[in-house]
Amino acid sequence: MEVKIPKDLLYTEDHEWVRKENGEITEGITDFAQSELQDIVYIELPEVGQEVVQGDSIATIEAVKTVTDLYAAISGKVVKVNKELEKKPELINKDTYDSGWIVKIKMSDSAELDTLLTPAEYKKVIQEE
């Protein structure tokens, strides 16, 4: 099955996607990740206001096949979490790049964006898996 890798986003090797919006980023898991996890049943979200460092585990995603962590793609402060997912975790399966977003982080160091992967680079990562 062909997985979607939108051209206007950045990615991590851990299969997170990142959308830049001024000084903030929105983060979620990629289409590849959700298709690997299959039906998602539960998500444990971080606290709003929590300070995070790039690479920290900030959320836990429980799915039929396995459980996985969401890692902070960028250091900063959690400014918003997608509360809708507590009731409808399946939004991640159905619409991961839009209503299935997980967390918004106010960046503390925008230079970290350079460490993220371009769509082409991310495509290579999943081809190797």
């Binding site: 039906d39 039929v64 096949k65």
Partner: protein
């Protein structure tokens, strides 16, 4: 294990855009739409599964009855023609080599085994056979499709030449679908009414298409291994490799009902009798863990901080809207209603031991108790 095998329905799965996984050396569909939607289809209407990866062993010859009876725990000499029985084969220590279904067909016994065990089982059969029996590994010869769900009977009757409503649970008959000869058996692994259909591999696609086409009127859904695993867990059915292995006995796994101690010799009997007399110190139980955190294979079961067992299968049940699991606990904790804790990633979740099956409203239970 590297997957080198595909089933005769592989192309169908690709056409249906299934997400494919490697399972027991086969490329198999995990899901087509969503595991939960497919599970719901089987509980509410009907689902169609390709289970052609399952192995088949044929046993024939003069001494076939005695031979099969020596290997399995149930007394298969009691099987009427075309009757089937779920049973197990044991090693000399009484551990389970495999769980399987034996069909008493007109000219042979057809033994349907787990895909992951077919090589091991076949070698076991060969090792114990004598010159008066013929043992054939027929896994490649057959396709196997499972039609499961409350509307299965309506669907099957609209594709078979003759009505099969009279077929009772764990009985089979030869029938024709689209003029093709098949064996239809009223069996399954889901807790719903349903049928399993066996035929020649080269006819698999045709049979699949006919049932899917007819099933459309009844909201049939193709179903993958994900739904199959969830459906069987909701019924508390054992999965070989998880809940039963060579390290577990049927006594511990609540499978005493497949053993016939009175039938004479069978492999593993001596050890099993000994264990029966001694009493088992652990039992497989059903556990409900309210909420959505999933107790998974290998997680510890605790009581007041002490480890008393381990989870062997677990998942979130969309039918019951709760997490459920199977696991072994020390026998003194096996009683229904016992509160336990499960260590889910360094945090304790509260659970309770419950009577199996978890899902009690399946159409199969209604049929059997009728």
């Amino acid at each position: 294990m590297k997957p080198k095998n595909i089933t005769p329905l592989y192309k169908k799965h690709l056409e249906l855009k299934a997400s494919m996984v490697d399972f027991a050396g086969y490329k198999m569909p995990m899901q087509y739409s969503s595991i939960f939607e497919e599970t719901k289809a089987v509980r509410d209407s009907a689902g169609l599964f390709d289970v052609s990866h399952m192995g088949e062993i044929e046993v024939s010859g003069e001494r076939a009855v005695e031979f099969v009876n020596y290997l399995v725990t149930f007394d298969i000499s009691k099987l009427k023609r075309f009757q089937a029985k779920y049973t197990v084969i044991l090693n000399e220590k009484g551990g389970i080599i495999d769980d399987l279904v034996v069909y008493n067909l007109a000219d042979k016994y057809l033994i349907v085994v787990n895909a992951s065990n077919q090589k091991k089982d076949f070698e076991w059969f060969l090792k114990h056979k004598n010159s008066q029996v013929k043992v054939k590994n027929a896994g490649k010869k057959y396709f196997q499709i499972a039609l499961q769900g409350p509307l299965s009977e309506k669907i099957i009757n609209s594709v078979t030449e003759k009505d099969v409503s009279a077929l009772s649970f764990y009985h089979s008959k030869e029938e024709k679908i689209a003029n093709i000869q098949v064996l239809i058996s009223r069996t399954g692994y889901t807790g719903e009414d349903g049928f399993e259909i066996y035929g020649k591999s080269e006819e698999a696609e045709k049979i699949w298409d006919v049932i899917m086409e007819e099933g459309r009127k009844y909201d049939i859904s193709p179903c993958g291994l994900g739904a199959r695993d969830l459906l069987r867990l909701e019924m508390g059915y054992c999965l070989y490799g998880n809940d039963i292995t060579t390290e577990t006995t049927p006594l511990e796994a609540n499978l005493s009902w497949v053993i016939s101690f009175s039938k004479g010799r069978f492999l593993g009997k001596k050890q099993l009798l000994k264990k029966k007399e001694e009493g088992t110190n652990r039992k497989l139980v059903g556990i409900v863990v309210p909420g959505k955190r999933i107790p998974r294979h290998g997680y510890n079961i605790l009581k007041k901080g002490e480890k008393i067992g381990v989870i062997t299968s677990g998942n979130f049940s969309p039918t019951l809207d709760s997490s459920i699991a199977l696991g072994y606990v020390q026998s003194e904790y096996k009683k229904e209603g016992t509160k336990i804790e499960i260590e889910i990633r360094n945090r304790l979740a509260e659970g309770e031991i419950v009577k199996l099956p978890f899902w009690k409203n399946g159409t199969l239970n209604k049929r059997v108790s009728k």
